[in-house]
């Protein structure tokens, strides 16, 4: 699984839309659509700023849903956001709206695995993508390996988005432990920025997601973004 994260409607909807098309052409097979939140505690400076800019420019769940309804490409789409954005919409309503758009699952940065029940109890019915981290215990990993839908998101570094991709031995051990047992793909994210990172990610996991670097390249323009996508995926 080769995934790319982009902030919806950023820098604007036209460029975002074009970037999605370019990403698919270059070989990405799934897209995480970020719905910006004012207080993104899992994000580093670059994505925090992008979220704030997007919000100032009027991006909201209505405009993101409009874009999702119009999407006709072939990538699998997941939504990535924060709990309050979904809560404020109504958890049942928003899962109905996402389901109509063909969304395969939702990644909620501040909804840890043990609070999934809260979303479900309030009517949320799409797959919630669970997280593994370098801090997960082997017990946590055992529990995670029972996941039946979507994928498992392995947050590969202790830190916010935009850090560097480097896994210590203990983390590698956890990753391979989980991968051996899991019934769904294990995808690593956080800190991947170049072809070399992708290569080492794919040795350890079933897939990867790039975020910060993708948004940074798109800020430079669609040509930079295209060239970067090509070189990044040249190793797959």
């Amino acid at each position: 699984m080769r995934g790319v994260y982009l902030v919806a409607g950023y820098p604007d909807f036209a460029l975002f839309d074009e970037a999605v098309r370019v990403a698919e052409e270059c070989g990405f097979d799934f897209l995480e659509v970020g719905v910006p939140f004012s207080d993104p505690v899992a994000d580093g400076p670059l994505l925090t700023k992008a979220a704030h800019t997007a919000i100032e420019r009027g991006v909201n769940l209505d405009s993101v849903l409009d874009w999702l309804r119009g999407y006709s490409g072939g990538m699998r789409i997941f939504v990535m956001t924060y709990a309050n954005i979904l809560w404020a919409r109504g958890l049942k309503r928003v899962s109905e709206e996402f389901a109509e758009c063909g969304i395969k699952g939702v990644i909620v940065a501040d909804l840890p695995n043990e609070e999934h029940w809260f979303f479900k109890e309030h009517g949320f019915f799409l797959p919630l993508i669970p997280f593994a981290t370098p801090e997960s215990s082997f017990e946590d990993l055992d529990r995670l390996s029972e996941t039946k839908e979507g994928f498992i998101y392995f947050v590969s570094v202790r830190g916010t988005t935009g850090g560097r991709f480097s896994l210590d031995e203990e983390t590698k051990k956890k990753l391979s432990y989980l991968r051996k047992r899991a019934k769904v793909p294990v995808v690593v994210g956080f800190g991947i920025s170049n072809a070399e990172d992708v290569k080492s990610a794919l040795e350890l996991a079933d897939g990867f997601v790039v975020g910060t670097k993708a948004v940074a390249m798109l800020e430079k323009g669609i040509d930079s973004f295209r060239n970067w996508c090509k070189s990044l995926l040249s190793v797959c």
Partner: protein, 384 residues
């Protein structure tokens, strides 16, 4: 449900922090079973921080306004506010967990100073995050933290106030979770923080309750200002089972227009911020709203989950006090009693003065959560 007050609370944080929260929970339980550690905290509270604090009957204010006003003098504590009750307790928990580095957020700077103080006392590395707006309006406290050996990091993202300081402190914690304890300063955040902070602050209510029991009567009304809600929970817990009216006072700012106040419980809706499901000032899409208060410690769009529960169960009534009424109370208490209150605490007094007729003849206990030296710049210089 564990970690919830009624339907409010929880642990809405990135997965990476979950083990650290479990570890804190274990340290907290171990502390509660450890009589030696409790004795150590008691010693520190008495000999270092200056507990117990007195209850003072404010005679001239009472005569001027027609009710009996009692003040719980948390302003007399070392570092000048109730915040040190919690920082001393959590510093001991930090040691229990074998961690050597502490990060904290601060609004008014009182929690930052109280954190820097205990870190100096126990030899812990200390980093304080403070919004740029707050660092400017509470400059004296920035200097105090630096003197105490803390590194003060000024936060320039978002609204550059308490909310953003918490965001950045949480991010630091995610990066350094193995070595670092996040010493949260109010009854907010993910479980078990609201309970840990309430536990350490409830000494306020216990002392106050025992004072009144000895005096042979109880107050009719107990009033406290509410930012995140720690001084309020601290005093309310002493009276929650008694026949006393409890009133929490939020910052009314300039008006009820969005962005001009911090009336989270008064005008917000349930939502999720900083790890808890509680009340939140937010727009229709769930973006956190801008807030305003003249007081940096109350300038916050969220509130502790226990307050959300106490509101919905109608045990506590939540009111507000505007900037100008807090400023009036600030001057009035100084003039009539020789006590300069923190602008935060002045909100509790200001609400009473504004509504004096409602409390005519009643015995009113106010938690005077801090002293006001830090606020002279705002009050005299018009900084806000």
């Amino acid at each position: 449900m564990k970690g919830f007050y009624g339907r409010f609370g929880g642990r809405f944080v990135p997965e990476t922090l979950i083990p650290a929260l479990r570890q804190l929970e274990e340290a907290f339980e171990a502390f509660k079973r450890d009589s030696k550690a409790q004795e150590e905290l008691k010693e520190l509270l008495e000999r270092y921080a200056g507990r117990p604090t007195p209850i003072y009957y404010a005679k001239r204010m009472s005569e001027a306004y027609g009710f009996e006003l009692y003040l719980k003098r948390e302003d007399l504590l070392h570092t000048g506010a109730h915040k040190i009750n919690n920082t001393l307790g959590q510093a001991i928990l930090t040691r229990f967990m074998g961690k050597s580095r502490v990060v904290a957020e601060t609004g008014a700077g009182q929690h930052g100073v109280a954190t820097a103080t205990v870190c100096a006392l126990l030899g812990l590395e200390c980093v304080i995050y403070m919004g740029k707006v707050d660092a400017e309006r509470q400059r004296i406290n920035v200097e105090r933290m630096k003197l105490l050996g803390a590194e003060v990091k000024v936060v320039e993202e978002g609204s550059q106030t308490l909310k953003d300081a918490i965001n950045v402190a949480l991010k630091d914690w995610v990066r350094n979770v193995r070595t670092t304890h996040y010493l949260l300063g109010s009854v907010v955040g993910p479980h078990p923080f609201p309970e840990v902070v309430a536990y350490f602050q409830s000494v306020i209510g216990r002392e106050a309750r025992s004072y009144f029991e000895k005096a042979g009567f109880l107050p009719d009304v107990v009033v406290a200002c509410v930012g995140g809600g720690s001084n309020a929970i601290g005093i309310f817990r002493g009276f929650i089972d008694a026949d006393c009216q409890l009133i929490g006072v939020e910052a009314g700012g300039l008006s009820d227009e969005p962005g001009q106040h911090a009336r989270t419980l008064g005008l917000g809706r349930p939502g999720i911020l900083h790890g808890a499901f509680s009340y939140l000032l937010q727009d229709e899409y769930g973006q956190v709203q801008k807030v305003h208060s003249i007081s940096a410690g109350l300038d916050y769009p969220g509130v502790g989950p226990e307050h959300a529960f106490l509101k919905e169960s109608n045990r506590v009534r939540y009111e507000f006090c505007r900037d100008e009424d807090a400023l009036f109370a600030f001057r009035e208490l100084s003039r009539l009693e020789g006590i300069i209150p923190a602008l935060e605490s002045a909100h509790a007094i200001g609400f009473l003065l504004k509504n004096a007729s409602e409390f005519k003849g009643k015995r009113v206990l106010v938690n005077l959560s801090g002293r006001g030296d830090k606020d002279l710049g705002i009050v005299l210089g018009g900084v806000s």
